[in-house]
């Protein structure tokens, strides 16, 4: 009982954080099928925070499962949606050409494609054949012409929406999409790209039903029923309250095991925790936080599990503003970060330290920062600072900025510990500045105001490109290693751009891995950013709810490295 009261008291901090927190994230998903291919995306590794319930017998299922979330819906048009929750819903009522095996982030399966896409010799066109007899959930036949028209929305009308996702995931990579015949599609690319299959598995490449999503107009808040190519139909949406999904009888693959899913919206993780405890919801998914999830894991009848993926946290280091325009200052900062201490003190050892901007498991991922700077090395940091004329009497004054409410209490605590680590050199005096997210993020990423600030990131598609390119090109989200209009900043290694371009077009996996390793070494040497840790995500569910034991990570209800939650795999024990 004391523990439960403590749980309530702990809510003081969490409630405030919950009002505003939202992750800077986007994901890609997939589905089920005949052919599977392994990509260079990360293999799933799983940590469990509590004893895990046994998976359900395969013959059981049925009933309604209620999922709680604090993530709000922002847009449900595939040509506009650009957030984790939106993509989760889209991938349950829609299905792209390819999809990830639930629970994995390295195994692509066929979605509505009949076979894996085939590239031309020059890599500039990809051809893909659709399954035969495909129907949207409302019975509308699906032809290659229709899919080409609907996917082209990403390239043509996405820019009229609030998220303009086409500018990020469409236009830079695809020139046009055309139908070759009734079942064959052709993608024309401006340049070859190594990660085209991952891109095709993203929610942006789901063909939307023209009955709801017209060819020439976005519909970011469509009225149910929402039918698509996926295993579910969205039958009801009550704004800020709930969403109901029922199986799509026209889905080409296996039918879901349960009869209905209700997703309930919470504003506060503590209320969601109490709801899963009381049985009002069956699953609490995003965003609970480590302490709350661990508390729930100790309650009989509940299972709390760490999902093998999550957003990363890192420091943006501005290469133009003083004092971080000095390479010695940047290297001193990189040398003092003790990631193991961050993990132990802030998360009780529950998070993985991050030694490169590309997390472990991705193709070519290294530990470049540990290799170059140690973990930590205060003597080296002092040497770098002395080389630039700083001393204990002439300290480096370093402004560090962070948004205290946006990422929740743990990230804020992490930043404060980083400050302590910097000041442990005795030669750095940190001036710490907290600022509300709306103001902070614009000022930091514009590159015009803040030398050092903390940010979070989760990939749009699971490839190292999406962990490196955003921080290098077009101002690099405030790193300013390049100017906004493209050229490299004077004094920064040109190799950043040449290696990035090479890694993007190299299709041989081994050769690409080698390029990526070199790129991370240059990235660390330039201290483009300072990677800190991988923030864990948790799922909590009641006994009687289970995942699919034949797929990876059943203990997380088959949520893997892509953080995609396929409601089709949820089973019940029939109780």
């Amino acid at each position: 009982m004391t523990k439960r009261l403590l749980l309530v008291l702990f809510s003081f901090a969490l409630v405030v954080a919950a009002c505003t927190s939202s992750e800077d994230t986007t994901t890609t998903t997939a589905g089920v099928s005949d052919t599977t291919t392994t990509t260079e995306a990360p293999a799933a590794t799983t940590t469990t925070a509590a004893p895990v319930a046994a998976v359900c017998p395969s013959e059981t299922g049925g009933g309604t499962v209620v999922i709680g979330t604090t993530d709000a819906i922002a847009s449900l048009d595939p040509a506009d949606a650009y957030a984790v929750r939106d993509w989760e819903v889209l991938k349950n009522f829609g299905e792209p050409l390819l999809k990830w095996v639930p629970g994995s982030a390295d195994q692509l399966q066929l979605g509505i494609a009949e076979s894996m896409p085939v590239p031309s010799e020059d890599g500039l066109t990809w051809t893909v054949t659709l399954r035969e007899g495909l129907l949207f959930g409302d019975g509308t036949p699906i032809t290659a012409e229709l899919v080409a028209t609907q996917l082209t929305r990403l390239l043509t009308i996405s820019e009229t929406g609030p998220n303009q996702v086409g500018l990020t995931l469409g236009n830079p990579y695809v020139d046009s999409i055309e139908a070759v015949d009734d079942r064959t599609l052709q993608f024309n690319l401006p340049a070859p790209i190594a990660f085209f299959l991952q891109l095709l598995a993203s929610a942006s490449y789901i063909p939307a039903n023209p009955a709801t999503f017209p060819e020439d107009e976005l519909n970011v808040f469509p009225t149910p029923p929402l039918t698509g190519t996926g295993p579910w139909i969205v039958t009801e949406i009550v704004t800020d309250e709930s969403m109901t999904l029922e199986p799509n009888p026209n889905y080409h693959g296996d039918q879901p095991k349960i009869d209905r899913v209700i997703v309930r919206q919470f504003a506060d993780p503590q209320s969601m925790a109490l709801a899963v405890q009381s049985g009002e919801i069956d699953i609490a998914w995003r965003i609970l936080g480590a302490e709350l999830a661990n508390e729930l894991g100790e309650i009989d009848g509940l299972n709390s599990v760490v999902v093998p993926s999550g957003p990363i946290r890192y420091l943006i280091i501005n290469h133009v503003l003083e004092p971080t325009n000095d390479p010695n200052v940047r290297k001193a900062i990189a040398s003092v970060i003790d990631r193991d201490e961050l993990s132990d003190v802030i998360f009780g050892g529950a998070v993985d330290p991050l030694f490169s901007q590309v997390p472990p498991g991705f193709l070519g991922a290294t530990e470049a920062f540990e290799d170059l700077y140690g973990s930590p090395d205060l003597d080296a940091a002092r040497a770098f600072l002395e080389a630039s004329g700083y001393s204990e009497d002439n300290k480096l004054v370093l402004p560090v900025w962070y948004p205290p409410e946006h990422y929740g209490a743990t990230t804020a605590d992490g930043v404060l510990l980083v400050v302590q680590q910097l000041e442990a050199t005795g030669m750095i005096e940190v001036t710490i500045h907290a600022q509300e997210w709306g103001t902070y993020v614009g000022a930091l990423t514009s590159g015009e105001d803040y030398p050092v600030g903390v940010l979070g990131w989760f990939y749009d598609f699971p490839d190292p490109e999406n962990y490196l390119q955003p921080f290098i090109e077009n101002g690099g989200l405030g790193t300013m290693v390049t100017a906004k209009d493209g050229p490299i900043t004077p004094g920064v290694s040109e190799e950043l751009l040449t290696l990035l371009t090479a890694s993007r077009i190299e299709t041989d996996i081994d050769a690409r891995a080698a390029i990526l390793e070199d790129l991370q070494a240059v990235y660390a040497d330039e201290v483009v950013t300072v990677p800190l840790w991988i923030e864990p995500e948790f799922i909590v569910y009641r006994d009687g709810i289970c995942g699919d034991a034949s797929l990876p990570n059943p203990q997380t209800l088959n949520i893997g490295g892509t953080m995609e939650f396929s409601y089709s795999v949820i089973g019940t024990d029939g109780s």
């Binding site: 439960r4 309530v8 008291l9 809510s11 003081f12 409630v15 919950a18 505003t20 800077d24 986007t26 309604t64 709000a72 819906i73 922002a74 847009s75 650009y82 009229t160 609030p162 998220n163 303009q164 500018l167 990020t168 970011v220 808040f221 009550v238 704004t239 800020d240 309250e241 709930s242 109901t244 209905r260 209700i262 309930r264 919206q265 919470f266 504003a267 506060d268 503590q270 209320s271 969601m272 109490l274 709801a275 405890q277 009381s278 009002e280 509300e436 997210w437 709306g438 103001t439 993020v441 614009g442 930091l444 990423t445 514009s446 940010l455 979070g456 749009d460 955003p470 989200l477 405030g478």
Partner: protein, 363 residues
């Protein structure tokens, strides 16, 4: 019919009838006062709208940056600003906003669903009213009852107990009390739902978005039971916290009126204490309480954000906070204009009630 219009009809028609009745039966001074107050509402709202319009543009940040964070590139921001006229001169933007206000259009939200703001208000205002009205009634009933007893039995155990209760309950953080109730009544005892307005598995046709009324007009008694069950904890939480201030105000006014000559005269005539309290003390003590009701209801329309957050209640308070943080200029401007209208109507009603309750008040 739009839920917002229905909500206005449900609450507005009785208010309009009352106002007409007072207007027709009142003195010429009162009629003149009412007309003046209504006329003053227009410049008041314009001034407020102008201030909000300017403040939203002075504070740093923009909708795209707030929504997409580091993924909101300069190109995306520029296109967004162009599409939504945010690059237009301030005067042009202001003119557009004022025109929207006068046509009661309010435009579309800038972020997320980009739906018409009147649609978003049509979902959230009824939710807020459905929670705030019963909570205020509970607060008023409990506060006046305990406050009167404490005032009449001054320095008794009842008085001390009530005073301690009022201070404790008012000082208690509302979200903490809400979570405590959720834990006790929802988790341990299993008597009430934890959060939400209705069990989402129960189908209910929403016409007014006032779920009690929607349940009744569709004779959906299962839904009605669920709606009432979901109302218990938010009403209890908000009502109890508010009751503290009503209790203290009633108590002190009952004590003060109890010392008036007319009360002493009543006692001298042998009228029993219950009648004195009801007919003399309480009626006069209620004037400041009515002022407080008006203020509280106006504040709660946007100020019940913590209660709404804890109980996953999709009301106006949460909406306003979300939109401020997201720099959704049009939504914030519109909601504040909307509140200003409400506050103006409520304060007019309170002023009129003064004249009904207190014959000394003349306009």
């Amino acid at each position: 019919m739009h839920p917002l219009v229905l909500t206005f009809l449900i609450f507005g028609i009785p208010a309009l009838i009352g106002l007409t009745w007072v207007f027709l039966r009142g003195s010429s001074g009162l009629r003149s006062y009412i007309l003046t107050r209504i006329a003053l509402t227009i410049p008041m709202i314009l001034i407020l709208a102008t201030v909000v319009f300017l403040v939203m543009r002075i504070i740093p940040g923009d909708p795209i940056t707030s929504a997409l964070g580091p993924k909101g590139t300069a190109e995306i921001k520029e296109r967004f600003a162009e599409q939504h006229g945010l690059n237009d001169p301030l005067a042009v933007q202001y003119g557009r906003f004022v025109a929207d206000v006068f046509t009661l259009d309010f435009g579309n939200s800038l972020i997320g669903s980009q739906r018409p703001i009147v649609d978003e208000l049509g979902e959230r205002l009824p939710a807020t009213l459905e929670m705030v009205i019963p909570a205020t009634l509970l607060a008023l009933g409990l506060g006046v009852f305990l406050g009167t007893r404490a005032g009449v039995r001054r320095k008794s155990a009842t008085d001390y107990g009530s005073r301690i209760f009022s201070v404790m309950i008012y000082a208690m953080p509302i979200f903490w009390l809400g979570l405590l109730f959720q834990l006790i009544f929802g988790v341990w005892l299993g008597w009430t739902p934890i959060a939400g307005r209705i069990d989402p598995s129960i189908p209910l046709e929403r016409t007014t978005n006032l779920l009690i009324i929607d349940s009744i007009i569709t004779a959906n008694w299962v839904a009605l039971r669920s709606v009432l069950a979901h109302l218990v904890l938010p009403t209890l939480t908000l009502g109890l916290v508010l009751s503290g201030v009503f209790l203290r105000l009633t108590r002190i006014n009952v004590i003060e009126t109890g010392q008036e000559d007319y009360v002493a005269a009543a006692r001298a005539r042998g009228i029993d204490q219950g009648t004195i309290t009801r007919r003399y003390s309480l009626k006069n003590a209620m004037i400041p309480v009515i002022t407080l009701i008006g203020l509280q209801v106006a504040i709660l329309l946007a100020g019940a954000v913590l209660t709404e957050t804890v109980f996953a209640w999709p009301g106006m308070g949460r909406y306003l906070i979300q939109r401020i943080l997201a720099r959704d200029f049009t939504a914030v401007q519109s909601v504040i204009v909307f509140f200003a209208l409400f506050v103006a109507v409520i304060s007019l009603a309170v002023d009129i009630l003064y004249s009904v309750l207190d014959p000394r008040v003349r306009y």
